[in-house]
Amino acid sequence: MSGSRMKLELTRVVQGRSRLGVLKGLGKTGQHSLEVPGCLLYTHLGTVPHLTQDTLHTLSPLPCVTQVNLSNIAEHRDVLEEFKDGFRKFAGLHDTVLYCSLHDPAAPCPTGYTTNKTVSVWGSGGRIELTVAKFMALQKTVQADWYQSMADGETWQNTTSRKRVRKSVDRTLAHLDECLLVHQSSQELKGVEVFGVVEGGDILEERIRSARETAKRPVAGFCLDGLQTGSVDQALRIQLTSAVIKELPEYKPRLMQGVGRPDEVLDCVDAGVDLFEGFFPFQVTERGCALSFNFDISPDPERAGRAPPAVLDLNEEDPAGGTQENGDVNLEDQTQMTHFEINLKDTRYQDDFRPLVNGCGCYCCRNHKRAYLHHLLVTNELLAGVLLMIHNTAHYHSFFGALREALANDKLDLLTRRVLGGRSKQKE
């Protein structure tokens, strides 16, 4: 694409699959960069859930790419049109790269409303149907630095027929061509990047066809759609992802949509995925839990004390109540807690005067104890969401830092074992 500045510089590729590098040239003037494997900052309408600028800026470093989605934004189209200066300024955002996705990864989208020419998003006022023309009109008002092309991703139910999957691939390619046509002739979108969307449900040939065809188009990177937690099991996701990635050019980034669990992230990274949406900490926060999994693989005992060494005694407080099988269970239910977190509503935390995670440097852990969080949760106080969101976001983004360090030092296996907390990795 003319004027495309986004550039992926790989410093290391492990076994021809997992990649370590830097995504450079982000933002209108190309001044930002994002280390990969990396995670975007999840928001509701540009706001990290529960957080104001004061509380957001306690996070350090602040993730440099902010994700917004059209489910939140579409209903405000006329407002943004009148405002004219783009969503970043409208939302009073800090100096951040803005990425606009179609759906909210933490809010499942009802099926049955997609047509040949339209997709639907659900905002606070209900369904909004988007044609390519409307979709592109929105992109012109949002003025993100990078956006996901319009896509038909309605293949995630396991009853979806082969015919429907094929149709989704065809439609998504047609949407992409139309989007690119409008994009290239649009002055407002000069310098903005487009990611093509790879569909194909759980059918290998369709996945490969979608990847090959999308790769032929002038896109800056790829979104892997329809593989989100709850739609396919982990083994199948990795099989399909590996096959898709073989078809994609090496020097363009790959963003996995709807996958956030640390174990699943690790497997996706191992398969060659670069980017993830940061919605998982939000889901954990909403169920009143705190991320506590260990990702410290530091050999240096001095550092080990400082880096988030995670759960003090994971065995003692096995949080999910027994080892929950990874991957192939709870396809429907993403609200259930995972063994990467502790449930602070549990009465055992009532008089626990330890921080959420010992050694964690987040605002919440520096200032508050589990007993206080427990109290805020049982009394339904709004501060619970604020403090948990700060901690969970900090913990999750630190995990990505540890992940990059592990890749740099050939220790992805060790990190995986650490994250799984001594449990043997599930073999599906």
Partner: protein
């Protein structure tokens, strides 16, 4: 500027030998420095030095009922310049309970708030929240909404909980009667409140660290108020609250009871008007001589999208703000107004709870800034002019000034233009 007066010097050493006379010889853990007194009205500007930090009065105290100020972190509250906030004894006594809070080094430690705290007695919530409560000489009996058990909140129990909470200012348990009730019950409540005050003073385990305030009762009856004032001012408590108002009574009655109280309260002790927080009420009651105020209104109304502004309030959720790209108040220096527009906040209310936090921050900032401006004008000797400007900004025209406010201000020599 008026001479500086200090009171409440440490009489700690005496107290230990004088347990019998403790009720009248209670020490105090505060100092009030009067910096300026308005030459026209009864307003004054003071530094109230409390165990955790100095508070500039007149002061509005935000309410953090359950050990948290609705969605705001303690750092944010500090950043807004808040030096004292409230916790509710009834709520905290129920959950998480005094024992746990004591283990956490008091409410300060539990919520990690480094500045001052004021706790109420718990009596008001019992009367307002709990249906089945019975008041006897012993105390207030009520049924726990959590486990249905009958609980007695006596003056001793209230102080014991507040001692566990470790607040800088504690309130006596008073016999609260709705301000719209008349007749012998009001008199009974007034006398009982005096007796309970003495029991509270005796029960206070930490008079050197925790200040116990008396609460003036007597309903809307001037004679009863006066009798209560006469009795309570004979007790050596570090401060006084004016209670039993802000409960739906006529404003004409309200301000007369306030001004009667301040007329008879000692100059050298702080005066706290309970439950008052509307901007006009604050300005008028400062003119009537009150130093401290609290109210849930600014933070509660914020969560419904109502932002306080010098011309009243602004309903952010109303459609008319959907495309209004100005800040809530362009003169406001709060973090919300510096960064966000009415239009964005309007949109955010549909997507995330952070919208409520933004308005809560703005409203606390509004209240604290208002009181700072009031104080500044008193110090600079131009409070009467401040009142004129404030009223002109708040109301579109002179004929919309509430008559009670006009009368109240006239009583302290301010004739509104």
């Amino acid at each position: 500027m008026a001479a500086t007066i200090e009171c409440g010097t440490d009489t700690n050493t005496l107290v230990s030998n004088m347990s019998v006379k403790k009720a009248v010889e209670a020490t105090s853990a505060l100092t009030l420095r009067i910096l300026a007194e308005c030459p026209v009205t009864k307003a004054r500007a003071c530094d109230l030095i409390l165990p955790h930090s100095s508070v500039s009065t007149p002061v509005f105290m935000p309410v953090g009922t359950q050990g948290t100020l609705k969605g705001i972190t303690v750092d944010q509250l500090e950043g807004l310049g808040c030096h004292i906030c409230l916790g509710n004894t009834y709520h905290l006594g129920m959950r998480p309970g005094p024992d746990l809070i004591e283990k956490a080094n008091g409410l300060h430690g539990f919520m990690n708030w480094k500045r001052n705290l004021l706790t109420d007695s718990g009596g008001f919530q019992m009367v307002s929240l709990v249906e089945l409560s019975e008041v006897t000489e012993e105390g207030v009996k009520f049924r726990s909404p959590y486990d249905g058990k009958e609980i007695l909140l006596s003056p001793e129990k209230s102080i014991s909980i507040q001692n566990s909470l470790g607040s800088d200012i504690m309130m006596q348990l008073d016999d609260v009667v709705s301000s719209t009730v008349t007749g012998p019950r009001v008199e009974e409540a007034m006398h009982r409140s005096i007796r309970w005050l003495d029991r509270c003073i005796s029960a206070n385990k930490n008079p050197d660290k925790q200040n116990l305030f008396a609460i003036i009762q007597g309903g809307l009856n001037a004679d009863l108020r006066k009798a209560c004032l006469d009795e309570m001012t004979q007790r050596n408590v570090p401060g006084f609250a004016i209670g039993g108002l802000s409960g739906g009574e006529e404003k004409d009655d309200f301000w007369r009871m306030v001004t009667l109280s301040t007329d008879h309260l000692p100059r050298e002790k702080p005066r706290y008007l309970m439950g008052v927080g509307y901007a006009v009420d604050l300005v008028v009651c400062v003119a009537l001589g009150c130093d401290m105020f609290d109210c849930v209104f600014p933070t509660r109304t914020a969560r419904f999208g109502s932002a306080l502004v010098p011309w009243g309030s602004l309903q952010v959720k109303h459609k008319q703000y959907a495309k209004d790209f100005q800040p809530i108040d362009s003169d406001c220096q709060c973090p919300t107004c510096k960064r966000h527009s009415r239009a964005y906040l309007h949109a955010l209310f549909k997507s995330d709870t952070a919208a409520m936090h933004h308005i809560t921050i703005h409203n606390i900032s509004y209240q604290l800034t208002l009181m700072n401006s009031v104080r500044q004008s008193i110090v600079e000797g131009r409070f009467p002019q401040f009142i004129q400007t404030f009223m002109k900004r708040m109301f579109p025209s002179r004929d919309q000034y509430p008559s009670w406010a006009v009368d109240a201000l006239a009583s302290v020599n301010v004739t509104l233009e």
